[in-house]
């Protein structure tokens, strides 16, 4: 099966998103936002949408989805915005994305513990 790849012409990617290049101002998808499918693929669904739903049965970060789809992150975000609007996925946003100056010391401790346990 041929998937759109990084060497394809730009119009291929453009087609995937119906011409949209940005996910919109309220698009909540950070690179590490974890995406979870709320439903399985449905017949007639755009194949990229269906692939995303299969990939994120368990929580999966946006960057992982982009890598698996072999699509640029920006394009992936647009596709995710569609799925979110349709209620087919939910998004778990990073708790650090907005208030870096308020990084929770407890969370840093959790990170440290996790790293030491590696």
């Amino acid at each position: 099966m041929s998937r759109p790849g990084r060497d394809d012409a730009p119009d291929r990617l453009y087609t995937l998103t119906g011409g949209r290049t940005k996910a919109g101002p309220d698009a909540p998808f950070d690179l590490v936002t974890l995406v979870v499918a709320e439903s399985g693929p449905a017949p007639g669904m755009q194949s990229e949408h269906a692939t995303i739903l299969r990939l994120c049965e368990a929580p999966t970060a946006v960057v992982e989805l982009a890598a698996e789809l072999r699509l640029p992150v920006g394009i992936t975000r647009v596709l995710l915005t569609d799925l979110l609007a349709a209620g087919r996925i939910s998004a778990r946003h990073p708790r650090t994305a907005t208030a870096q100056s308020l990084l929770d010391p407890d969370m840093l401790e959790q990170v440290l513990v996790g790293l030491r346990n590696l």
């Binding site: 990084r6 590490v32 936002t33 790293l115």
Partner: protein, 245 residues
């Protein structure tokens, strides 16, 4: 500059590297915007190739650490040394791509320009998943780093002392950005420089930790991350109350 040219192939494995299977030069590509996948013999090889290992269903907090440095300095190697997954590289479109594509009449090859970056993942506990991003530090790729840095915990500047000037721009931008960082010298077995020499060459703030590492070693790379997070803890620790005057 005190960076000295030497043949990387002549580098020796640092002592703490567990039976490093290859010369460091072998895993570092100077080729294009993506560092080519390292040889298949690095320590992370048996961790995960093929399908992604999935996170636990309770995972709800993605964390970011960025590893920045010039080409061939070992970003990819470090990320893979500690990552539990081996995803394909992914890419981000150039900053101006959106504007170009929005104007249909102006569609040019420019809009297809992308920069590859690689990443890895460490599941810390049932809720937290740490993602590592390797990002090229050169000026022309900085738009990508700027995006990666938003919301990041902090950054590791990976330095090769033979090409130390590759790091100047990255450090300058991190300071400007207010992103906390540490500097890790990847040991390529070149001539030894004292920490003072390196700090001097980088014009490094004395409060920024500087450590040595071997990016091929999982233990060493893990220690780099621990050093960064410990540094973050001191930065964000509640300050003791000022003595009343």
């Amino acid at each position: 500059m005190d960076s000295v040219t030497s043949d990387p192939a002549a580098s020796e494995s640092p002592a703490e590297s567990p039976a490093a299977p290859q010369g460091p030069a072998a895993s570092h590509s100077h080729a294009a915007a993506s560092e080519s996948p390292a040889t298949s013999e690095d320590p992370a090889e048996d961790v995960a190739s093929g399908p992604l290992r999935t996170l636990r269903t309770d995972a709800d907090n993605g964390l970011k650490i960025v590893v920045v440095g010039g080409f061939g300095v070992g970003k990819t190697t470090l990320v893979r040394s500690v990552s539990e997954i081996r995803p394909p590289n992914t890419e981000e479109a150039m900053a101006q791509a959106g504007a170009v594509v929005d104007d249909l009449t102006g569609v040019t090859g420019k809009s297809a320009t992308t920069v590859a970056f690689d990443f890895g993942r460490i599941s810390l506990d049932e809720h937290n998943a740490l993602y590592l991003f390797g990002a090229p530090g050169q000026e022309r790729f900085w738009f990508l780093c700027d995006r990666l840095f938003s919301g990041t915990l902090g950054a590791v500047v990976l330095v090769d002392t033979r090409r130390i000037d590759d790091s100047w721009y990255a450090i300058d931008r991190l300071e400007h950005h207010g992103t906390p960082f540490i500097v890790a010298r990847n040991d390529f077995g070149g001539p030894a420089h004292t920490p003072e020499q390196i700090r001097d060459a980088l014009d490094l703030d004395p409060r920024v930790p500087l450590i040595d590492c071997d990016a091929r070693s999982r233990a060493s790379s893990k220690q780099v991350l621990i050093t960064l997070v410990e540094h973050l803890k001191t930065l964000y620790a509640p300050r003791p109350p000022e003595p009343a005057l």
